[in-house]
Homo-oligomer: 98 residues x 2
């Protein structure tokens, strides 16, 4: 059992950490808000959101606000549990170093 | 300025986190020891160690112990500083979620 085994590969990218981090403390966030908070490109955000969606950690709600399409992200229960476990593992790693 | 800007891309992988984490608390570690601690394959460890070496965060010492080649890794001063900054950024992200 390696010391990094509890670090979840699905969260192994700063953009994914950022997305999860925002969604853990906000009921939902739309594409534009996430993009601004994380300071990333559309393509970058879209691909990492897709990966988290495919892992079942976030869900996506597409709707129209007036005539404008709006994409909203919500963290799933599975995602919450997995992210907490990931943060615990990171915290243990950090504490090894302090 | 995004909330993930201080998270260093070079450490954006659990194997790299693991390598740095081991080298921060040990003066040096050889390939075999790292491989066991992190529970990864030779190829995986070699490619991530190479990336950290190219970033200037670790240095590699190759020598022979008897007739056996031995590869030893050491964290550089730049690496120490960068990794501490990275851990601070991770810690801030974790604290947002607790």
């Amino acid at each position: 059992m390696g010391i990094i085994n509890n670090i979840n590969k699905a969260f192994d990218h700063r953009v994914r950490l950022g997305i999860m981090s925002v969604l853990m403390v906000n009921e939902h966030a739309d594409f534009r808000a996430l993009k601004e908070l994380l300071d990333v490109t559309d393509g970058n955000l879209a691909s990492h959101a897709k990966a988290l969606e495919q892992a079942g950690y976030i869900s996506v709600q597409k709707q129209f606000i007036g005539k404008k399409p709006n994409t909203k992200y919500v963290v799933t229960t599975t995602g919450k549990t997995a992210f907490k476990k990931h943060l615990d593992a990171l915290e243990k790693l950090i504490n090894r170093n302090q």
